[in-house]
Symmetry: C2
Subunit: 387 residues, 2 copies
C-alpha cells in the first residue's frame, strides 16, 4: 500500500516496452508502476519513477524488489518458475502465478495441458528428441519448436528437407533443449484472442483480431479480424475465456491461433502478459490491455472491451539499418502527413529489426487504414514514403 | 537531446496533475517528461522518471533545471514573468514565452490586450483601486477580480452589497493587489474553447465545450457543448485561433467563455497550458490536450482533434471530508458498476474539495452520460451512490 495514494502498489519484473506502457496506464489509475529493470536505459526504466535495477534470474533481486509491492507481475515470461514458486511460498501475491505461467513458458507443457483439457483444437504434435522421431511423426515440411525460451519467431523452425532438419534437431539436442514437432498447418491466416482474468475470476475478452507475421515477427494487427464469421468468433472467444479459467490465469493472456485453409481454429501459442497482438486496444478499445492487466492483477473489476471504432489497425515499427539518427525528423514528417495516427515509441536504442514502437489508426475504411499504418511504420523505419 | 532516444527533452515547471498527465502522454511519443517539482510527493513527481526538486520562484532552480532540457514549459502560470524573460534571454526555448504568458498571468493586461485587439467580445470592465471606483463603474451586483494569482474561483468575488464590497476591496487594496471590476454577465451557461498553437504557427482547436462550475470550481465538462448553434461554434473557434496567433501562444491555450442570456459570447479568462476544460479530450478526442501540448511546444505538427464519440462528459473528482482512506475500495465498486468509465486519479493526498482526479465517459445518450459521470465523481468523493 502506498501511504501517499492509499492504493496498492504493483511491481513488474522486466523493463521492456510492455512495462513502459503498463506504467502509462497505471498513471490514470492513480498508480505508479514499480519496475525491476536489468539496466537504467531499458524502455520502462526511462519513464517509470520507481525503478530498481536487478536481474530476473537472481532470486535475491526478485525478493528485494517484491518487499515493497503488493502485487508482482511480469513484462515477460523468462523468470524461472522455481523462483516464482519461492516468491509465492513466502506470501507474495504473484499474478500470473507459477502454476499458470508454466504453460506460457514451456510449449511442451502447454500442448499436453491443452490436449488433456480438450476444450480447444491444436495442430497435431509430438515431443521429440531425435531426427528419427521427427521423421517418424510425418513427412516434411514440419514445424520444430524449442519448448522454452523462444519469442518473435526465435525457437521455431520450418523443417523443409532432411539436411536442414538434421542440422536444427542435432543442434537443439546437443544443447539439451526439449523439442516438439508439429504439423505445418495450411494457413488461411493467423488470429489472436486476448482475454483478461482477475484473481476473483472475472474474465473479459477483446474481439478476435487478425495478426500478420513476417519472418516470425508480428508486423500488423487488424481489430477486429475482418470477415470472421460470428460463430467462429464466438467459439474462439468462449474457448479463450474457458482456457484462462482452466489454467487459473490472472492478468492478460494472449492466445495466438491458426485459421487453417479448411476453417479449423487451432491454438498456436500462449502468452500470459500484455501482448503485441493487443497494442491496438490502447487506442481502439474503451479499455486497453495495459489498463486491463493492471485491473486484473489488482483484482479490480475489468473494464469495457468495446471497440471505439469499426476498425483499428496496428503496425509495428522496426528499427532501420541506419540506427535511427533521424527519428525525430521522421516523427515530424509522419505527424504532418497523417495527423490521425497514434504513435507509440518505446525509447529504445534503434537496432535493425528490433521493435522500437508501433502505430495505431482507427476508422471504417479498412484497406485505407492498412495502407496508412504500413506506410507509417515503414517510414519510421526507413525514412522514405513508399506507400 | 536525449542521446538514448535521439529525441528532444521537454521539461515542465510544476509537479501537479497537469504535469502528471503530460508525462503520461509523453511516454507514447518516446519522451520522458522532466519535471521540476516543489516536493517529492507532488502528483507528477510520483510517476515521472526525471524529477528535480526545486522552486518555480527561485531563478537558480529554474536555470539549473533548464540546463538539461531542449524545451521548457509549464504546469501552471505562477512562474514570475521576469524569470521567464531571463531564461529566454539566456537562449532557452520557453513555450509559452513570457510575452504571451503575461496575458494568462495578469487579468488586467489580458483585458487591455483583448480590448485593443478587438477580435473578441468581453464583459464591460475597468481597472479599480478603491470602492468609489467600483461603485462609479455601475450598480451592484458586480464582479471583482484580483488581477493576478487566482485559480479555481479564488481571486474572484461577486460584490452583492456595499458592505461586502467594501470589505473585499479594502482587503485587496491594503494588500496592494491590482484589481478590476466587471459587469456580472447574465449567464445562459459557460463555455470553453481549447486551441493549441505550435512554434511554427500551426493552430488547431477542439470542439467548443460547455463547462459547469460550482463555487468557482469546474465540476463538469460536456464535449461538444450541446445545442450550440453552428455559427456561434465556428465564430468562437475562429476567434480562439486568431487570439492564439495574436498573442503568440505556443502550446495549449484555454479560453473560458460566457454565453449570455442574450446570446453574446464573451471572453472570461485565459489559461496557457493544458486545462481542466480539456481533460475530456484524453478519452474523447483522437488527440488529447496533453499530447497536443507536447507536439506544440516540440514544434511537431499537431494531431487530429476529431471526436471519438458523439459526446464525452468529464466530471471532476473532489476530495471528500474523510481524507480518502477508502479510495481503493471506492475505485473497486465504481469499476464494477460502470466498466465503461475512464478513471484518472492524480495520486494526490485527499483534502476536502481538492481536485484529486476526474472521470470521462463517452457515448451518445447525453443525459445518461451526465448522470453517470456525476454519480461516479460523487461516489469517489463520498463513498455513496446518490445517482
Amino acid at each position: 500500500m502506498d501511504q501517499r495514494t492509499k492504493l496498492p502498489v504493483v511491481g513488474m519484473v522486466g523493463g521492456g516496452q510492455l512495462a513502459r506502457m503498463t506504467h502509462q496506464a497505471a498513471i490514470a489509475l492513480g498508480q505508479s508502476l514499480k519496475v525491476l529493470s536489468a539496466g537504467p536505459d531499458e524502455s520502462a526504466a526511462l519513464v517509470a519513477h520507481d525503478v530498481e535495477l536487478g536481474s530476473h534470474t537472481e532470486l535475491a533481486d526478485l525478493q528485494r524488489f517484491a518487499e515493497h509491492v503488493d502485487v508482482l507481475t511480469f513484462d515477460h515470461e523468462h523468470v524461472p518458475g522455481e523462483f516464482i514458486e519461492a516468491l509465492e511460498q513466502s506470501g507474495i501475491e504473484v499474478h500470473p502465478g507459477a502454476e499458470a505461467l508454466q504453460f506460457a513458458q514451456d510449449k511442451l507443457k502447454m500442448r499436453r495441458r491443452v490436449g488433456d483439457w480438450g476444450g480447444a483444437d491444436q495442430p497435431r504434435w509430438a515431443p521429440v528428441s531425435t531426427l528419427d522421431e521427427v521423421l517418424e511423426f510425418g513427412e516434411l515440411p514440419l514445424v520444430l519448436k524449442a519448448a522454452t525460451g523462444g519469442y518473435d519467431g526465435k525457437g521455431v523452425w520450418v523443417l523443409r528437407d532432411a539436411d536442414q532438419a538434421r542440422e536444427v534437431v542435432e543442434a537443439l539436442a546437443s544443447a539439451g533443449t526439449p523439442m516438439l514437432v508439429e504439423e505445418l498447418v495450411p494457413l488461411r491466416r493467423e488470429l489472436a484472442v486476448l482475454v483478461a482474468r482477475s484473481k476473483f475470476g472475472q474474465a473479459s475478452a477483446w474481439p478476435v483480431v487478425q495478426t500478420v507475421q513476417e519472418d516470425g515477427i508480428c508486423v500488423e494487427v487488424i481489430a477486429p479480424a475482418p470477415e470472421l464469421d460470428e460463430h467462429t468468433a464466438t467459439t474462439a472467444t468462449a474457448m479463450a475465456i474457458a482456457l484462462a479459467e482452466e489454467l487459473g490465469v490472472t492478468g492478460v493472456m494472449a492466445i495466438e491461433l491458426f485459421e487453417s485453409t479448411d476453417g479449423r481454429i487451432l491454438v498456436n501459442e500462449l502468452a500470459m502478459r500484455p501482448h503485441n497482438s493487443g497494442h491496438w486496444s490502447m487506442d481502439g478499445a474503451v479499455t486497453g490491455q495495459f489498463e486491463q492487466h493492471l485491473r486484473a492483477v489488482l483484482d479490480y473489476p475489468l473494464g469495457d472491451t468495446s471497440l471505439r471504432a469499426p476498425y483499428t489497425v496496428m503496425a509495428n515499427v522496426l528499427g532501420g539499418e541506419d540506427g535511427g539518427p533521424g527519428i525525430d525528423e521522421r516523427v515530424h514528417h509522419l505527424m504532418a502527413r497523417w495527423p490521425q495516427i497514434k504513435i507509440h515509441l518505446y525509447g529504445k536504442e534503434v537496432r535493425p529489426g528490433r521493435k522500437i514502437g508501433h502505430v495505431n489508426i482507427s476508422g471504417d475504411d479498412l484497406p485505407r487504414l492498412r495502407e496508412i499504418a504500413q506506410a507509417a511504420a515503414a517510414y519510421l523505419q526507413k525514412g522514405t514514403f513508399d506507400e
